[in-house]
Amino acid sequence: MTTRSLQKPPIRSHGVQRAQRSRRRVGDNLSGWLFVAPASVLILGLSFFPAVWSFILSLQDWNGFSEPEYVGVDNYSALLTDEDFAAAVMHTGVYTALFVPMSVLAGLFLAVALNRKIRFIGLYRTAIFVPFVASAAATGILSTYLFNPQFGLVNNVLRVLGLPAQGWLEDQTQAMFVIALMSLWGQAAFTTVIYLAALQDVSGELLEASRLDGANPWQSFWNVVWPSLRPVTIFVTIWQTIGAIQLFDLVYTTTRGGPLDATKTIVYYLWEQAFRRLDFGYGSAVAYALFALTLVITIGVVLYSRRRGQDAF
């Protein structure tokens, strides 16, 4: 903050200088605040204020209309014994366990595959990246169509191959898998792009050296490329995990939590509690539980990677 005043040599008497400097500082402050104020007010006003309010709500019993009633930690203790919530956590866990490894591995594989100058490579990239722009609503409709048990393309392919037709989104045990697969379709582009960017930073000299030492491409990959991708892998894993435990959209646009609640995730449960049953207090408690889970996972992964000697950030 003082760097600018140091640049100007003192030529006037101290009093004048001080007055000028303080006036300039007021001017600096004012123009600085004018630049940052609109965005800051919007962003901070729409996050810190609701975050605090949400915590207060989580200690209340309130449906949005009646007088809110303070209930202490009742919502949280109810959460601990709520079987539906436990089921939602389980379903979210299943989705995360399916989606995160798939998306990280797919991103790594596709990035390595796309990281070369061959003919049509632009075409391949475009084809793999373009699903990224498909919305959850559109992806939902596509999923229900492609995986339709009666006339969907997927079952038709199975029929041609002589395999039995599956229930997919209408089957309790398969629905989450279909959702994970369609998420992957839309989001593979993201992990691929991140890995592609990281691959550009892999030392060409090291690769060349390993090639000269007689390493085959497979060995070069595991001994040179993979170690330098570790930090990115940790980052992508955290990022995708945070996204996965917040799954809502695609469930809403495909199964709406069904069949038999098999795809009801934490955020879907939150949405139902808050905006279907108008239980704002309980919904807020679910939201804070989700927040805590996110923090625990993030800190956990970071600590684990630190102990293994890999800094993600």
Binding site: L46, R116, F129, F132, I141, V193, F280
Partner: protein
């Protein structure tokens, strides 16, 4: 499989310096890489849902529910599109979504570049606190904010119109962060030169800095377009009025009301995804840049 194309650029460069005859390059290039056998099927697999979507949108309704379904429609039939535009409010939703996205992009470009510049280059009291606070909000999951924000917006009367969908998209922490990163990368000499010429901060920003920020602004615009156009959960919660439905909200509701009208559903899907697909094809580089930047915010 991989030996065929192990860094070809290096070899080509070497050959060039040793033997200036370029003819030897030609046969090398012609040889087909084994990766085509991997990439082509994958690319097709990724395109397949879109291909199905376009085919189904112009298929006769009967064929879509016949068994076994034909992969290619026997004839082109626009009844799905006709029904979509005649029997649903899709034009209204398109208009609403356009209003939301255009407002979001315009306001992002103005507010986030201003704040980004302020946080990157101006010195004022509370600057570091401001940066810290705004970056801190990225850690807060949106789910935590949904309930109070909904209550707040309904008290302000925003939930009866498009306002509820627009306000959260006026400025985002990511937008400010993105612009700040960009402005910090510019050399300070640019501003020094402007200051020596007697330009004010505002003039320096508008005339010198902003014209240089076009790539960053393009990234910001695409990020905002993708986010605001495709947003579903927030409009679902916050829009209580049928006349203020966004496109995503409208077609998500089709799932309940028009479950079996596949040609109409697919036509709606085409209408909803085509704008972004076309944008993507024209500005692929900027989209990829946006994705990379989104990932780097962590």
């Amino acid at each position: 499989m991989t030996t065929v194309d192990s860094p070809p650029s290096v070899n080509v460069a070497e050959q060039k310096t040793i033997t200036p005859v370029t003819r030897s390059r030609a046969p090398r290039r012609r040889r087909m890489s084994g990766w085509h056998f991997v990439l082509a099927p994958i690319a097709l697999l990724f395109l397949l849902p879109f291909i199905q979507m376009f085919m189904a949108s112009v298929s006769p309704a009967k064929e879509l529910v016949s068994y076994p379904p034909p992969f290619i429609p026997s004839r082109i039939d626009f009844t799905g599109f006709i029904a979509l535009f005649q029997n649903t409010d899709i034009m209204l939703w398109l208009l609403n979504s356009t209003i939301v996205s255009v407002t979001a992009i315009a306001s992002h470009l103005v507010f986030c570049s201003l704040a980004g510049y302020g946080f990157a280059r101006l010195t004022f009291r509370g600057r570091n606190f401001g940066i810290f606070a705004i970056l801190g909000t990225i850690m807060i999951p949106t789910q935590l904010l949904m309930i109070p924000t909904y209550v707040l917006f309904s008290r302000l009367g925003l939930v009866d119109g498009l306002g509820a969908a627009i306000v959260p998209w006026l400025a985002t922490a990511f937008g400010v962060f993105l612009m700040r990163q960009f402005f910090m990368s510019l050399p300070r000499e640019l501003e020094e030169a402007g200051r020596i010429d007697g330009a004010t901060r505002w003039q320096i920003f508008i005339r010198i800095i902003l014209p240089l920020a076009k790539p960053a602004l393009a990234t910001l615009a695409i990020f905002t377009l993708l986010g605001s156009w495709n947003d579903l959960v927030w409009p679902l919660i916050a829009i209580n009025n049928d006349n203020a439905f966004t496109l995503q909200l409208g077609i998500a509701n089709f799932q309940g009301t028009r479950r079996t009208q596949w040609s109409l559903l697919m036509a709606a899907n085409v209408v909803a995804t085509m704008p972004l697909i076309l944008f993507f094809l024209f500005a692929q580089k900027q989209f990829i840049q946006t994705m990379t930047m989104t990932g780097l915010r962590g």
